[in-house]
Amino acid sequence: MFAEILPLLSKALGETIYMVVVSMVIASAIGVPLGVLLHTTAKGQILENVVINQTVGSVVNAVRSIPFIILMVAIIPLTRFLVGSAIGTTAAIVPLVIASIPFIGRQVETSLKEVPAGLVEAAQSMGATPFQIISRVLLPEAMPGIVSQLTTVIIALVGESAMAGAIGGGGLGDLAIRYGYQRFRPEVMLATVVVLIVLVQLVQFVGNTLAKRLDKR
């Protein structure tokens, strides 16, 4: 029986990892700069701009308030436009990315807020440009926090990717629903849950270790 579940599990795990990793990479590439933008345009910050800050902030809040399962269905036209199809594992990446960008943005913003204002002031007193302040002060100083926050985002992505089954995305969640629930195979359900637990534990462990190593405070 185990031999029968194993290929199913490994295929589903592969799909989950694929969705999470690709979504995470794309979402970080956009979300981290978004977080920087949210922080630096806020009042009293180096690129203070209330209009940009509030506009971007509202969009971020709006996207974050849509439940993932609804977002996934609501953006089907966009998904079809971007990847050519609205179903499948790759198609699931589009809503995952869109849901994660504002999440990462807020998380990064929170970490950047923790950087003492005095450090920015010191860099300004040495003639640093805003870009230098971002790249050499804000991001390095906030890095341990950002790593911890991104770990949280990855774990949230594992959870959200479980809903990808709704649009034929596959993955561990899909496996658990289709085999474990709909086909009354509790052992598949159990195995999936165990794999998910191990996966999340592993991600958290790696994230914690990395954050700790980066933290020199």
Binding site: P116, G118, L119, E121, A122, A123, Q124, S125, M126, G127, A128, T129, Q132, R136, V137, P140, E141, M143, L214, K216, R217
Partner: protein, 353 residues
């Protein structure tokens, strides 16, 4: 070197406009250590930030080394800031960078290559006595060591001016002294102009050549440290000085009524201030010899030094008949000593027994 002309700064706060600086004029000469002392909220931190434009004054001019800082563009300003180093109360070091990298930080900003950075950073590490800590992180250092890193970092760009914003306020007295000594050495060896912001008169006394006392956004008093110390005019200055130099009467007289008229059993208390070489003249011995019939009791004495100039403060009590006391006052008036008549005060009876 630094010329502030009519500096004003107003902030908008929820409770209306706050007038932090109300027309400050200040001249700081090249190579000078200029202290600015004030209570928290007096505007001193805002003032020092106007020098490197971390705060833009609402009105007025800031001339640094002949250049009007208020008219510079952002990029010109960044360039100008390279010749103004700054150290902070909370050090503001990068926690994610080693001591070496913290000192190298401004040089990396300017795009200097690693080799040249090394040539620059190593002597600075030596200057501040942290060569063995180069690869440690700030969290592994004591407060004094962190400030030394801050100083080395501020000096890395070969500035002409060093701004010290409450640089020793977070340090214990011994560490404060060693940091002040270091600043003094730097001032002399690199002929750096130093601006010191503090709320501690001790720092002014130990380090500065000149001082401006700032209160409620205006300069209440200014001058050489020696003048301000020995002859404070403004109440706020007297208050600052009283922390170091107590103005209280000796315990045996404290709390008793001070009268300008003679009362039975009282002594005429005088505060004498000796300055410079006169501080060790035998003025009192001469007075006793010259003015027959006057009794002199030493009640309080303190000899100090400001910038190597001896500075003595004494409280003496005189008794004797009126003519003897008057002749003593006349005698002292003719000497090179400042005399302040406190008045006739009775000794506490408890203290006598």
């Amino acid at each position: 070197m630094i010329k502030l002309i009519g500096i004003e700064k107003t902030y908008d706060s929820p409770s209306g406009k706050v007038h932090a600086l109300k027309g400050i004029d200040l001249n700081i000469a090249r190579g000078e250590i200029y202290g600015i002392i004030g209570l928290s909220g007096a505007g001193k931190s805002t003032l020092v930030r106007c020098i490197n434009m971390l705060e833009r004054p609402t009105a007025g001019k800031v001339i640094v080394d002949g250049q009007d800082m208020t008219t510079l563009t952002e990029s010109q300003l960044r360039e100008a800031r390279k010749s103004i180093g700054m150290i902070f109360q909370h050090f503001n070091l990068l926690s994610s960078a080693t001591v070496y990298d913290n000192i190298a930080f401004p040089l990396k900003l300017y795009g200097m290559n690693a080799n040249d950075i090394g040539k620059k950073v190593r002597p600075l590490l030596e200057l501040v006595g942290l060569s063995d800590k180069a690869q440690q992180y700030p969290s592994q250092l004591s407060g004094g060591q962190k400030q030394r890193v801050g100083i080395a970092r501020a000096l890395a760009s070969d500035p002409k001016i060093l701004l010290c914003d409450e640089a020793t306020s977070a340090l214990d007295p011994q560490t404060t002294k060693s940091i002040l000594d270091l600043i003094k050495v730097i001032n002399q060896n690199l002929s750096l102009t130093v601006v010191v912001i503090t709320h501690e008169m001790q720092v002014i006394k130990q380090l500065c050549d000149k001082v401006a006392v700032i209160s409620e956004g205006v300069i209440a008093e200014r001058g050489s440290v020696l003048d301000v110390f020995t002859n404070p005019r403004h109440d706020i200055t007297k208050e600052f000085i009283s922390v170091l130099l107590s103005n209280e009467l000796p315990a045996a007289f404290r709390g008793n009524e001070i009268s300008q008229d003679r009362t039975p059993g009282s002594l005429l208390l005088l505060r004498l201030i000796f300055l410079g070489e006169r501080a060790d003249d035998p003025v009192l011995a001469k007075m006793i010899r010259t003015c027959k019939g006057v009794e002199c009791t030493m009640l309080f004495g303190n000899l100090d030094e400001i910038h190597g100039v001896p500075f003595g403060r004494f409280i003496i009590g005189l008794s004797g008949d009126d003519s003897a006391i008057n002749s003593a006052l006349n005698f002292l008036g003719g000497q090179d000593v400042r005399v302040e008549v406190i008045g006739y005060v009775r000794r506490n009876s408890a203290a006598v027994e």
